[in-house]
Symmetry: C2
Subunit: 106 residues, 2 copies
C-alpha cells in the first residue's frame, strides 16, 4: 500500500516536472524554462499551462521555443478549458485556461 | 475555367463567412458573433482567429460560447502559429496566432 502510494506520488511528481506554468514574467523566461526542461534526460514532452491573460504569453513562449530553440519538437496537443476560481472574499469567477503540449518529433 | 474560378471564389467566401476574427472589443461581442454564425443555415463549424494579445480573448469567447450559448458544440481543433508582420516603417516582427474551431457535436 505504502509502495503504491509512493509510486503514485513519484509519477505525479514526474508529470509536474515536465509542466511549465506561465504567469506574468517576460515570455523569454518561459522559453528558457521549456528549453531547460527538454534538456533533462527522458523528457519527450513538455506541457505549458496558463490562465486568463497569460494565455497569449503561453502561445508566444511555445512558438518561440519550437521555432528557435527546440526545433526537433512539434505541437502535439492543445486543450482549452474554463476554471472556476474563488478569491479571498469568496467570490467565484470563471477564467479560461490553456494547455499546450510540445513533444519531440518522431 | 470561369466556372471553376467562380466555384473557388464561392467556396472561399463560404469559408470566410464562418470565421470570426477576434480583436480588441469586449469578449461578449465575439461570443455574439459566434452564436449568430451558428444560427445561420448549414453552419456546422465556426473558426475563431486571433493574433497577439487577442489570443486570450479568443479563448474566452470560444469557452463562453461553448459553455453557455451553443452547448451542442465542442472544440474540434486548435492550431497555433507564428506570423511575420511588417509595419508601415518596413519593420518586420513575429506575432503568435491561434485558430480555434468549434463544431456541432455529432
Amino acid at each position: 500500500m505504502a509502495d503504491e502510494e509512493a509510486k503514485k506520488e513519484e509519477s505525479t511528481k514526474e508529470k509536474e516536472e515536465h509542466t511549465i506554468f506561465v504567469g506574468t514574467k517576460p515570455p523569454m523566461s518561459y522559453v528558457l524554462a521549456i528549453v531547460t526542461e527538454f534538456k533533462k534526460e527522458d523528457t519527450s514532452k513538455v506541457t505549458i499551462k496558463a490562465r486568463g491573460r497569460a494565455i497569449s504569453r503561453a502561445v508566444d513562449a511555445a512558438e518561440i521555443a519550437r521555432n528557435r530553440f527546440v526545433t526537433d519538437t512539434e505541437v502535439k496537443d492543445i486543450k482549452i478549458d474554463t476554471e472556476s476560481m474563488t478569491n479571498d472574499d469568496g467570490d467565484t469567477h470563471n477564467v479560461s485556461s490553456i494547455e499546450i503540449t510540445l513533444a519531440i518529433k518522431k
